[in-house]
Amino acid sequence: MTIDTEATTPTAQLDVAKVRQDFPILQREIHGKPLIYLDNSATTQRPDSVIDAMSDFYRTSNANVHRGVHLLSEEATDAYEGARSKVAAFLNADSTQSIIFTRNTTESINLVAHAWARRHVREGDEILLTVMEHHSNLVPWQLLAQERGCKLRFLDIDESGHLQLDHLDEVLNEHTRLVALTHVSNALGTVNAIPTIACAAHSVGAKVLVDGAQGVPHGPVDVQALDCDFYAYSPHKALGPLGIGVLWGRRDVLEEMDPFLGGGEMIRDVTLERSTWAAVPHKFEAGTPSVADAVGLGASIDYLNELGTAAIRQHEVRINEYLLGRLRELPWLTVYGPQDPHDRCSLASFNDNQIHAHDLGTILDQHGIAIRAGHHCAKPLMRRLGVMATARASFYVYNDLDEVDRLVDALFEARKVFGLAT
């Protein structure tokens, strides 16, 4: 999503009613009300096809991968490597071998911190981050900075929640070894201008890591067009299973990296004294992988491709336009992040001027509406905004405009519960 999706070619609109039928959990009632699931930035729900693919794997093809000579192991290996191919195509990766399976985005970022940064970042070097990073793209670099004596620098945001690109020159220099930033803010929804930042980073010789946890779910991602060196994401935020993560790295960069975890699967040869490493990507995948999760991931990509990533993005912009408009009707709300529906993914982070976000969360839950309330694992950003917490409603492919209305109705109800004017 370089947001090249302001469709030059018309895209079929998502049939949300039809999509909803694919998600069994949406039949649930919460406190006697139909579930309105608006916590998609934390994790999405899964369609039947993903659940069935994982169940079928366990029922019919379960075996360990890359080591058996028997048919089941062959089938399991094909399923696992088939998922890798699907991810590579989905991200327009330069090669299938440049896709590494991890546990989640956090582990993907830690992999880069250990296997790349420990070799390339030294005392006096700098790593450039932004104030809007999730803790998962901040704490690993703090640990590295403590170990290596390197310096962390931060690109700030402006009042609209965009990165201050005009200040990039002040924080980027010949000492910068890495620029690590999020594709899309999980707390503001801001979509960042990755190609612009990557171009500037490369001009000073720095590598670029993109935290794509909130990027992949919300539209087409082309890692080559983004011009980054690493791209990490968690499939469970895009209809895939919990328990598997993805790291894409440029093949030439991956080839010269050290291993991450040591153990089985990642070796070429082992003696009692030393070992040599398997080829990329297996060098980075020690131990038995989560094969069924990879199979489910493959099925989730098939599902997303069927919907069409450009159509998903259009759906999000449509939600945003309506959502931001409705929230503006409530003068007691502060809505954070870009006001242009095209500059954000389909989430709204907001605060009532009298009711704490946790109280909103509890009251909305009683209406069957699941939102997130808190610091969103982005405490530095909360401090930057001058708040302790926000309420966040995040939408996805099965959410429609009527759910925006239910959300707004419940926000009115919350005022009544607290005896406040509306």
């Binding site: 704490h356 946790h358 109280d359 509890t362 302790m388 519960v417 005896g419």
Partner: protein, 161 residues
């Protein structure tokens, strides 16, 4: 909605709007900060004890949801002027109620009784406990012999000064 009315009783909202303990303490006082890392709620608590071993003054700077603020405000309301032994007894009773026990019969716990509705919202119990866990640390800091009052709580961290 029945559940919500039970949680957000008027007395709780009153404490939330205008918490007790806003006045700063003149003179020396114990100062501790309580955090709830999971939700980000914070509470600064200052406490002074007079020569008779009574809580002479309590000052709080709450920053959190209605339940955590109201609970801290009620703590101030209930404990000002009480002996440390009385404070510990009330704290133990309140924590027991939050764990599911009933209020002891024949005693009046004032506004605090309104927090009983929190029991029906398990994820919010830690909000109601923040002030009381912070108090434990303040007592331990005042008198090291009271260190055994500090119960390990996975959800709440307390920083002493």
């Amino acid at each position: 909605m029945q559940g919500l009315d039970d949680l957000y009783r008027e007395v709780i909202l009153d404490h939330y709007r205008t918490p007790h303990g806003a006045d700063a303490i003149d003179g020396p006082a114990i100062k501790v900060e309580g955090f709830n890392p999971l939700c980000g709620d914070e509470l600064v608590m200052e406490l002074s004890v007079d020569a008779d071993g009574r809580i002479a003054a309590l000052h709080i700077e709450p920053n959190g949801c209605s339940i955590s603020v109201a609970s801290a405000s009620m703590l101030v309301q209930q404990l000002s002027g009480k002996t440390l032994a009385e404070a510990i007894a009330l704290k133990d009773t309140f924590k027991a109620v939050m764990r599911g026990e009933s209020w002891p019969e024949g005693q009046d716990f004032g506004d605090l009784e309104a927090l009983e509705g929190v029991k029906n919202f398990p994820v919010r119990i830690k909000c109601a406990l923040l002030a009381w866990t912070t108090l434990e640390q303040a007592l331990a800091q005042y008198d090291p012999d009271l260190a055994d009052q500090v119960e390990a709580d996975d959800d709440i961290e307390v920083k002493t000064h």
